[in-house]
């Protein structure tokens, strides 16, 4: 399943509803382009909703890290919302769970941005 990313604004936070697979190739490119586009338009608070992302490979993990560091380097914040078990397990074994701010509830997540 091809990755899709739809962006909506909630209380100044850009929420990106991702679905499908974030893998080497199109999936990673879509995520990269979406985050870069948001940053270029001044969005500094980005919440990636991964509830419907059922698969991420190492390239996709790398793309998440890249999105996180790129946002941070531009003075913004990028957080993750609603991880599936598979994605959660991947972030656990790669120790990236300690890097990302992961939220389970959208309202709480939106309020958590500074």
């Amino acid at each position: 399943m091809t990755m899709k990313a739809n962006t909506r604004q909630v209380d100044g936070v850009a929420i990106v509803d991702c679905s499908g697979r974030i893998t080497l190739g199109e999936g990673s490119v879509i995520l990269r382009d979406t985050v870069r586009d948001l940053l270029s338009k001044g969005n500094k608070k980005i919440l990636l909703n991964l509830a419907d992302v059922n698969y991420i490979d190492s390239s996709g993990i790398g793309e998440l890290v890249s999105a996180f560091t790129t946002t941070k380097n531009q003075g913004g914040e990028l957080k993750l919302l609603k991880l599936t078990k598979k994605v959660n397990d991947l972030l656990q074994i790669t120790k990236l769970y300690t890097v990302f701010d992961v939220k389970d509830d959208e309202t709480t997540a939106v309020k958590s941005f500074k």
Binding site: L24, S58, S59, T69, V99
Partner: protein, 150 residues
């Protein structure tokens, strides 16, 4: 000594499509062998990561170089071998992705994930290519009891 029950091999181009194809073949093979859902995901992901390394880092998308993918189902194991025709790799230069200084790197997790998901991972680099062997043990009646066919 384990008896070979089934062997299937493919020769594939050095393309992105090969990565998806290898993953798909691994998924179908693992399902046919009766592995559980989590193990199927682990096997298919390990093969995907191996195929990515072969296509990108091994053959570097070269159209004249091929990837070979082989599945062997023995009594006790599923043995998957991926070979490329690249220049080999220096295993001593593979960083530990869990080291604090590497956590925010955007690459370098493929082999780590393979080792996390498979029971045995063997990498044999040479100047004419790298051979990657991924082994998943067949446990009890959860796998191996079904006859697989292609």
């Amino acid at each position: 000594m384990a008896m070979t029950e089934q062997r299937v091999s493919y020769t594939l181009d050095s393309t992105l499509e090969t990565v998806d194809s290898a993953e798909d073949k691994a998924t179908r093979f693992a399902i046919k062998l009766g592995f559980g859902e989590d193990e199927v995901m682990q096997i298919s992901m390990a093969v995907r990561e191996g195929a990515v390394n072969a296509v990108l880092h091994g053959n570097a998308y070269a159209p004249d170089k091929k990837i070979t993918l082989e599945f062997v189902h023995t009594t006790h194991d599923l043995v998957i071998t991926i070979r490329d025709q690249g220049k080999g790799m220096d295993l001593s230069k593979i960083p530990n992705p869990l080291a604090p200084e590497n956590l925010l790197k955007t690459s370098g997790r493929g082999i780590f994930l393979m080792r996390s998901f498979m029971d045995v991972v063997e990498i044999r680099p040479s100047q004419t290519g790298t051979e990657l062997k991924l082994i998943k043990h067949v446990h009890g009646s959860s796998a191996g009891g079904k006859e697989a066919s292609q």
